[in-house]
């Protein structure tokens, strides 16, 4: 495969620009904020022309091989600028357009970590961001801002990109303490596009898309790039429009005859919960929807069943469900499908399962398959302590090797070494990515059972407990070193819980209800996530190890007694 790249490497952007010549009148992108009357369309010919224009602009500013932030509201502008970056070898760093100052400072952390040379954005977003920058109490290197009004004075053509060159940096979380930027190469990108196509059985000319944000790995690689890769049509809408009215997603699929559209599990729940029975859905026809991806957070069978029950009458086929597994560190896709087979589960003896052993049983613990492991990977189940490969019937950490596995974390050698360069004890000497996820393989399908890393996943978003703990600790009445944040599974959904130690006077005399509001407000404003459960306690309540480290797992077990005390 390596030799293949060197001999006849056609990069992703070259491939996309070629469509502009071979099928200039076909539709490349459709973006709509609300109904079809709000749709903006772009043909392949126009897309090509605009990408070339922006490419000249990037080259004129000498940005090739430099990291550049892309901060856009959902829209076609992002598609054009992102492709222009790929084409010129400019390293794209897609970021979320923040809503408030606290969140913008997280984006700034990432921009600082990446060392961006410029910010690509829209004039409107630029005005907002530059205002926000004025109020940030820290020194920021003067940045080059390029919005839609910036134009290149002359046409410039870039050097063709090489397979080993970085295409973009995907930041896996807006982590305040240590942002981790996954370095995705052009070779990774192509390898993963092929893996997705193969697993989903997508055809050339694919009509795909949905509501996922463009800065998120699943929205970027799966939803946006796959239809572009296949010379099809990328049809999309702003995430907020979906949240506000989930039927708009289904209407988008039905109206434009989308064949493939994905969401984390909560999106399917959201449709079931918020589209009320008796709502007029006449005209909705989901029979075109062949691949309904479900990934980025654990797949819940009950959610799938409820969705299927509700929308079967509108042509939705249960075989379309396509649970999948992946992460930014593998570009995106690792396992999924097989296509047209729907949700599959396996059941194991509960007692053995809890001890990490697999004993098939008729009743017991049921696990949803995350699908067939893509043949582009060598995936192993490894004991995370001994680093030896696990026997077939044992649960272990998921380790991955393959051409979709990224180069590592940007400017973070230590973490790259730890996560991307693991070797199996007594194994083949290959480098594996340690995913931090636990699971097992059964009939070449991957089952994910939990996590060893303290990463929390809420609605497809990765959160690190210490970021939220830091915010809690910074509260003026907190003891400053006693906060524990962790996830609790309730009714098949991850709830975010925090225990925060207050200083003694505040705990005794303070208004606890008011302080709970303070902390919830701070966490929402800073981390953009809500605490479902919050307990304020006196110093010394949080379980620690002898060396003083917080034992988050143990924290879960003291929740019931806190509930009795605190109500």
């Amino acid at each position: 495969m390596k030799a293949d790249y060197q001999s006849e490497f056609q990069s992703f952007p070259q491939r996309v620009l070629n469509y502009g010549e071979t099928q200039p009148d076909a539709t490349a992108c459709i973006f709509q904020t609300q109904g079809p009357e709000t749709a903006q369309k772009l043909s392949w010919g126009e897309l090509r022309r605009k990408v070339l224009e922006r490419a000249s602009l990037l080259l004129a500013h000498n940005l090739a091989a430099k990291p550049v932030a892309l901060i856009f509201p959902t829209g076609i502008e992002f598609v054009i600028d992102f492709l222009a970056c790929l084409y010129t070898g400019t390293i794209a760093v897609p970021l979320k357009l923040s809503r408030n100052l606290q969140q913008f400072s997280r984006a700034l952390n990432i921009m600082e970590d990446a060392g961006v040379a410029a910010v690509l954005t829209t004039a409107k977003a630029r005005a907002f961001l530059q205002d926000a920058l004025q109020t940030v109490p820290r020194e920021i290197q003067p940045l080059l801002w390029l919005d839609e009004h910036a134009v290149a004075e002359s046409v410039m053509a870039p050097e063709p990109v090489k397979a080993s060159q970085l295409a973009f940096i995907q930041y896996t979380s807006g982590s305040t303490s240590r942002p981790k930027g996954v370095m995705v190469t052009h070779a990774n990108l192509l390898n993963n596009q092929r893996a997705i196509q193969q697993a989903c059985q997508h055809q050339q000319g694919l009509i795909g898309g949905g509501w996922l944000p463009q800065f998120h790995d699943m929205g970027l690689i799966g939803q946006m790039m796959q239809p572009l890769y296949l010379g099809g049509t990328y049809v999309f809408m702003p995430p907020m429009s979906f949240i506000q009215r989930p039927r708009r997603w289904l209407e988008l699929i039905s109206h434009y005859r989308l064949q493939s559209s994905a969401s984390p599990n909560f999106g399917y729940d959201h449709c079931v919960r918020c589209i009320i029975d008796g709502e007029d859905l006449s005209g909705l026809d989901l029979s075109c929807w062949k691949v309904a991806g479900n990934g980025a957070e654990p797949v819940n069978r009950a959610s799938m069943e409820a969705f299927q029950q509700k929308f079967a009458a509108y042509g939705f086929k249960p075989s379309a469900f396509f649970p999948c597994y992946g992460m930014a560190e593998t570009t995106l896709f690792v396992a999924g499908g097989a296509a047209n087979t729907g949700v599959k589960t396996a059941t194991f003896d509960t007692e053995a399962f809890e001890a990490g052993m697999l004993k098939p049983a008729n009743t017991g613990t049921e696990i949803v398959s995350c699908g067939v492991i893509s043949p582009v990977f060598d995936l192993r189940i490894v004991n995370p302590d001994t680093l030896e490969e696990c026997a077939d019937s044992v649960i272990g950490e998921i380790w991955i090797h393959g051409n979709s596995v990224a180069d590592g974390y940007w400017k973070n050698g230590a973490q790259t070494q730890k996560s991307f360069r693991a070797t199996i004890q007594g194994g083949n000497g290959r480098h594996y990515l340690r995913t931090g996820d636990l699971g097992f393989i059964c009939d070449n399908e991957l089952y994910v059972t939990g996590r060893i890393k303290e990463l929390i996943i809420i609605r497809g978003r990765n959160l690190y407990p210490y970021d939220i703990e830091r915010t809690c600790n910074s509260y003026r009445h907190a003891s400053g070193h006693g906060a524990a944040v962790f996830a609790v599974e309730q009714e098949g959904r991850s709830q975010l819980a925090a225990i925060v130690e207050l200083n003694k006077p505040a705990f005794i005399d303070g208004d606890l209800a008011e302080m709970e509001f303070d902390i919830k407000g701070m966490v929402m404003d800073t981390c953009d996530v809500a605490l479902d459960i919050l307990h304020l306690v006196e110093p010394g309540t949080i379980p620690r190890t002898t060396s003083g480290k917080i034992r988050r797992v143990k924290c879960q077990s003291i929740l019931p007694q806190l509930k009795i005390v605190n109500g």
Binding site: Q34, M240, I243, Q244, D518, M524, V529
Partner: protein, 97 residues
């Protein structure tokens, strides 16, 4: 502006929604407490506009509750939106008449 009745209905609709997420919510005490402080997440902020849209049969910007983040502020802005919508409907009716 809309009638007291409509306003009352809206207060109840919003309260009912918030109480389902935050059992300790009390409209008498928390009408001016921000939704973030009460513990609503971003999805729930957007859902608030969804339930108001249903109650008033008008379209609202999805990020409205972020910019008007308390019950009082949200109801105020919704009453203005509602008035604008009514006026628009009236003008349209007059134009076609």
């Amino acid at each position: 502006m809309f009638s007291e009745d409509l306003k009352q209905t809206l207060v109840e609709t919003i309260s009912e929604y918030v109480i389902a997420k935050v059992p300790s919510f009390d409209i008498a005490e928390h009408a001016d407490t921000s939704f973030s402080r009460l513990g609503l997440d971003s999805l729930e902020h957007v859902e608030l506009t969804m339930i108001i849209e249903k109650a008033l049969s008008i379209e609202l910007a999805p990020d409205l509750a972020f910019n008007y983040p308390t019950v009082t502020a949200l109801i105020q802005v919704c009453s203005e939106e509602y008035a604008r919508h009514q006026q628009g409907a009236e003008e349209a009716a007059n134009a076609t008449a």
